[in-house]
Symmetry: C2
Amino acid sequence: MALSKSPYKGTRDFFPEQMRLRNYIFSKMAEVSELYAYEPYDGPMVEELDLYRAKSGEELINEQVYKFIDRGDREVAIRPEMTPTVARMVAQIHREVAKPLRWFSIPNLMRYEKPQKARLREFWQYNADIFGAPEGLGDIEIIQLAIGIMQAFGANNNHFEILINSRKFVDYVFTGPIHLEAEMTKKLYKLIDKKNKMPADKFSAEVAQITNDPKKSQIFEKYVALSTMKEIESFFEETFDGLEKDKIFNETLKPLMTIFAQLKNLGLGDYIKFDPSIVRGLDYYTDMVFEIFDKHPENRRAIAGGGAYANLLSIFGEQPLPGIGFGLGEVPLTEFLKTHNLLPDTSIQNIDILIAYTDLKSEKTVFELSQVLRNSKIKVEVFMGESKPKKVFSYTDKKQPRFVLILSADDIASGEVQVKNLQDKNIHKMSLSDIDKLIDLIKGSR
Amino acid sequence: MALSKSPYKGTRDFFPEQMRLRNYIFSKMAEVSELYAYEPYDGPMVEELDLYRAKSGEELINEQVYKFIDRGDREVAIRPEMTPTVARMVAQIHREVAKPLRWFSIPNLMRYEKPQKARLREFWQYNADIFGAPEGLGDIEIIQLAIGIMQAFGANNNHFEILINSRKFVDYVFTGPIHLEAEMTKKLYKLIDKKNKMPADKFSAEVAQITNDPKKSQIFEKYVALSTMKEIESFFEETFDGLEKDKIFNETLKPLMTIFAQLKNLGLGDYIKFDPSIVRGLDYYTDMVFEIFDKHPENRRAIAGGGAYANLLSIFGEQPLPGIGFGLGEVPLTEFLKTHNLLPDTSIQNIDILIAYTDLKSEKTVFELSQVLRNSKIKVEVFMGESKPKKVFSYTDKKQPRFVLILSADDIASGEVQVKNLQDKNIHKMSLSDIDKLIDLIKGSR
């Protein structure tokens, strides 16, 4: 029986058109990262499973990680996310290097997922992190960078918004006024994630069931309904009191308000919004958290998410080093760009000139000429085998090189050739001995 | 107990210095590929194991492949090589697209290996293939491309050579004059690979044991001692006779001699050498085979290998489509470049300007100015937090940006700033309102 030609479930083949698109996306990400002085890094595609046990939480390990036992009886996992790897790497060197560290990577990751729109089992994810930045300033830069990347794709505040929250504030609300057992608190966190996907009365019913206390339910529902800085301030005033009030304010709302003010100063106020429902699950985040959200009504989803974390290095027995980072998946990003008609056309290969020949005698010259042009960084496709012009032009119709040159033994004898510009249809007469003129013609047309 | 900070056995962490080197290597590979009109592609990092069962041979499957059972009871493998994937992809589309197909990729691959010099468990490998080229011409282009890539790293025929053989010729020698059972033939193939690593008498003893026939041994030893086209021709004359002689010559030595002649025409004669010991194991190769070899006496090893194959698509129930390709691993390539002192220095990050501030009042201006410069593609590092110039300069000593600007409230009040070029130590006075002048200064110094 013939073998299947399909890729493994939930993974993709990148044919040249898709690969050029991926390269376009990755090169924009890298370019903007370097404008912000972020340095590239990468880790292995597999890690020992313990790394994720320590960092990523039960759900990821039990349900999403591709894991296996290797020949040395080690439990190994294909990386499902990059943060544990970057933490491991930073733990190795953070004591010897100048800080802050600004790092980015674009690894391929794998997770068991039911393949669906914008969800695949193998995907690439841009990751950027700043470690050891002075308090508050890393947050600003990371959000600037996130916006900068989105803008590099032609997106603006009509297309996306950044929803921001303070994880610390959520934690105070949940451990203070809504004091519940850990298990119940987890349930509330999960419920927040689902809020926009369920009817209001069903949401309220579930809240009531979890808290089992009308007063607590009221505070929780009030919390998740907040939508402006003003509202959050009055909620704070109503909800917290006593000696801790100033401390809590200084740790949560004050830094958040500073971040908002500074981003407004930078002209980015129209991109950012406070959103109490952004909590980033049960992850390692300890302070500001945010998500980039598509504003299109038919594609309301998170494209990226991230936040600040204080304790990533502790599992390696290292001193704390605060960090802030985010991940941006190429799958939801591509979906976003498609939705807003921001994808470039990558169907056509970039070829400067196609060189063909009508007779075997000219073959040697074609190969030689091509090599000379390539030495001058001209992209040359040799049309192999002696061919009639008609066949060559039927091929250039498909491949669309910028120029075409069809060589014959007569041309070589006369030393004169005709180079056709396939965009403006002009024909340029050239001497075969004046290659520089040909090079100038081609480079001038780029 | 604290978690290990080391990467999984046989894999590497790419810190920024190593990652910049990897990016340099990959971008050269991609750049030269595009000069030859090769298009980028990629496949998934995992494939169903059956794909390798059909293509890669027992040894790879049993000893080298990372394999596991997924949650859907599929046997899955992390890709140990790229050729089966590219064959699977080409099988999907070859009937609908213009040929030849010229494709390249740089995937990460995994194999169980005892980690040693130039051998790791995870590595990246450049792959290029041409499918459906007219006979003989694909071979020329693939070898041109291989040489072109090596030259892009500054290497020439003092540093490496390309050892070429005809797999078909080897097969005729082995099945004709040295006629042995399949099992014994396999052993001879393996022995050839080890020839240069064992004493001559031990080699002869093993040959005698395998063939169990002095005449056959003599032919075999004569064959592996061949080193020029002239020698191979007289060996052919002595060894083959009868009706088949012309047929065999036309299928094996004639095309090989044509390839050599054409590469000589292109000025590449000094790079290529006939080598009877290049047989490329028990792989899918059916015609020309070659390896790029380091010429340095202390690093005699293959950096790359490839050849022509006729039947890659048959396992998918597709018509044959001839192809020629090669793989070039970044690990042996890096070892080669290091050996010949051809590695660039990637220890320093490329930063155009570092902008610092001495007082909190200037922070806002620094963030704003940085954003304006980045919009003009200037790579800006913000030195976060109010800092004394001494601290800033101690940092720039390490990071080596090209320019530094330290802003104070006084500067902002006067509108005049001083930008220092850290290479020539010149100080440029600028008006804060004339950002274009600053942009020109920085871009002009690149």
